[in-house]
Each structure stands twice: as structure tokens, then as C-alpha cells.
Symmetry: none
Subunit: 122 residues, 4 copies
Amino acid sequence: MDFKDDIPIYVQIEQYLYREIIQGNLQAGQKLPSVRQLAVKLTVNVNTVQRALQEMNSHGILYTKRGEGNFVTEDETLLAQMRKQTMDEELAQFVENMRKYGLERDKLVQALTEYLEEHDND
Amino acid sequence: MDFKDDIPIYVQIEQYLYREIIQGNLQAGQKLPSVRQLAVKLTVNVNTVQRALQEMNSHGILYTKRGEGNFVTEDETLLAQMRKQTMDEELAQFVENMRKYGLERDKLVQALTEYLEEHDND
Amino acid sequence: MDFKDDIPIYVQIEQYLYREIIQGNLQAGQKLPSVRQLAVKLTVNVNTVQRALQEMNSHGILYTKRGEGNFVTEDETLLAQMRKQTMDEELAQFVENMRKYGLERDKLVQALTEYLEEHDND
Amino acid sequence: MDFKDDIPIYVQIEQYLYREIIQGNLQAGQKLPSVRQLAVKLTVNVNTVQRALQEMNSHGILYTKRGEGNFVTEDETLLAQMRKQTMDEELAQFVENMRKYGLERDKLVQALTEYLEEHDND
DNA sequence: GTGGTCTAGACCACT
DNA sequence: GTGGTCTAGACCACC
């Protein structure tokens, strides 16, 4: 069954932080909340947070100053690249979902424009 | 955070069945698996399944023949309406996410078109 | 002080496995001992082994078949690359050590050849 | 496995001091820090330091002036000999490792020369 | 205070 | 059996 899908928590934390960065809530060079703070806020174990940060670290999105904390990379190129990839994944997910509903590529753009026109004044 | 808020299981089951219907895995007039089969398949309690079916019944999406089982409605208008609503919700979610990423309406269609061109042969 | 140096155990496990692969004790496509077996053999915790394997996995050196085990990659190019890198690191370490002892580059090759001649028949 | 076999601390201290002498941080005739200072610096027990110094004393590498402290021997021959031995051990280890990696004597010198050329400007 | 590592033990999913 | 994830709690190193 897939109604109980199961993305690991540490991956969800990564996705969450990626979104925060893309949305500008966390900016280049900015300090993240401490591992322990994040763990409390997200009601997960410290190690689970660590694992998420560790992976983002190895991907270069974050860097660590021992005894100080974790920081968003200041490599704007990398951030742009990450942003592009994240949005592409979101797009891919969307296209895939709509495809399952029977909306093939041709009609997708049409459906989107129609939707936007219908909700022009939200 | 939202990766630890639990949507009630019976709601998840409804969502699951909605998807199955929209995707055509369950078609108009088709008999659903028995409550017990569903309970086993989804590894949940029989009562939980019952509650989900009951709600979908009251919305007219399903109807029950006593002693025979549950069936998808044959009211194509209702199904079309449901289909539309589900897709609109998906669209709304998508538009909202992209907006948070800084992509306003104008650039959204553009981004989608570009994406589709880039991935023409998946 | 550096007489008590402190390479994390999971890194040491990686190094150990790299060596095993380079030396041909673990060949391309071969199954590794199970995580639990390794943990016992190395007298460390299962999670520590997991972490080492996980990293090698993300580097492509290993791949996992769920329910079966971990296997050495069959990508010979990647293995050759890894072999080169590992040996270069070993070389760098050696050069660095000798430099600390006052042996600069010029005299290094000389010292090595002399050593090899002295121990021609070991 | 060898990353969990513990070399006695006093031996590690000896190795540490040997390195300091070979690298010239401690020179012939120079006074060593006091036993207590060393104990603090290395975060080990005073007795452990004593045992290390005692052994080096019996090997002639150090000598003790009662009430003054421990000094590095001024016997340059002995120092040269020690230096040679330490470097030979390092060389032996290196040759052995590379041999395990499949690099026999002939190709070893070649590999070293190539490495030095590649990293001419570190 | 900060992050980094390790352990022990539990539970899950795949085969 | 296999690996994958998560937790709780401990200890260390850096600042």
C-alpha cells in the first residue's frame, strides 16, 4: 500500500531545510538553529537532525564551525543549482501526479493556465 | 513542522480510494474489495475501513448493496466533479508552493513549459 | 597533543574496507559480510558499521540489495579511480612524514632506492 | 582489525617523544618539560610519563640530572642511529603497504617519482 | 554553549 | 536471515 508512505524523517528534515533556504527564510551565510533546538522544534531525536545536517554538509549546502553551529553555504552558485534542482523535482512530482490523473503533457499547460485564470484574484 | 502531524488513518484511506478512482484503477460501477480484504491489504482495523467507506457513501461517491458490497457510483457527473476538485486541489498546492519559491503566475507557465521541453523523452 | 589521535571509527572502517578492496580480498561484485558480522568482527556497534557502509554507498563504491546485503561496485572505472586516490593519499602521508623528518623531495627517491637495495632479499 | 588494539599509553608517549626529537622540536642536550608538565599536557598520569622516560633513559636517548630534569642525549651518533632506524621502519611500512596494493619494487620508485612530479607545487 | 561520535536496543521492510 | 531508521543517553572536543 502506498497510503502510508514512508519517507525517512531525516530526508524530510532535509527537504524542509531546503525549502527554508529557497524561500529565503534561511539565507546564505546565516546560522541555523542549533541541532538540539531543531530536534525539539521538530520533535525528533538529536541524532536524526544530525544525520540530515551531515548529509547537507557533505553536499556542500551547509558548513560547520565546530563549537559554533551550522551555517548556510555562501556559495551562491551552489545555492542556485540546488534551488533549480529542488524546483525541478517539485515540477516532476506535479507532472507525474497529473499524468496519473490522465492529464498528458499536451493538456497540462492548458489546465494550468485555465486554473490561473479562474483564480486570478485570490 | 508538518512531517509529524498525523492525518487520521481513515482519512488517508479515503484519499487513497479517491486516487484509485481518479486514476481509473476503480471505475464507475465497479465493486470494491471487501471491507475485510481492504483491512488486511492496508493493515488497518476493519472499523477504520468501515468509517472511510461510510463517509464516501454519504458523499455519494460510493453506494452499498446490502449483502453484496460497496460499489463506485455510476453518476459520471459526480465523478467528473470529484475529479475536477481533486485536480484543482493539486494545482492549488502546486501554485502555492511555487509562489513560495518566488515564482509568480507569469513565470510559472513559462517554467512548466521549459521543464516539459527539457524532459521531452522521459 | 597528537599522540592520541582520533580518526573516527567509522572512517577507519571505511579505510579498512578500501584496503580490502584494493588488495583484492574483496572483489568487484562480491558480497560483503553482513553488517552484524562486521560489527562483531570489528567489535563495534552495528550502527557504526552502517555509517561506514552508508558513506561508501553514497560514494558509489558499494551498492545495497535490500534483504540481501552489500556488494562491491562492478564499475571498474570507479574502482580504478578509488584505488588511485587511496594510493595517492598513502603516498602523500608518506612524503609528509618523511618531510617532517627533514627529508625533502630531492632526497626522498634516493632514500627509497637505498632502502630497497639494502633489503633486496627479504 | 587493528583500530581497536590499544598500544600502551606509555609506549605512545615514547613514540611521541621520538618523533619530537627526530623532527628537531627537541634537540640534542635540550631539557624536556618537567614530568608534571608533560603529564598535564598529555592528560595522562605522572607515573605513565615516568615509565616512558625511564625506558628512553635506559636506551640512552635521554639522561637524567637529579634535581634538574631530563635531557636529550648529546650523543649525535646515537641520535643519528635512532633517526635512521625510525625512518627505516617508516620506509618498511610504506613499502609493505604498497606491496600489498600490488606495487612491487620496480614500480614503486616510479610511482613515487610520478607523484612528486604531479605535486610539485604543494 | 556548540557539533561529533558511539552505543544499545528497538522496530520496520524486504527476501 | 538481510539492511534501514529512530531513539535515548553518554562522552568528547571546540569555543
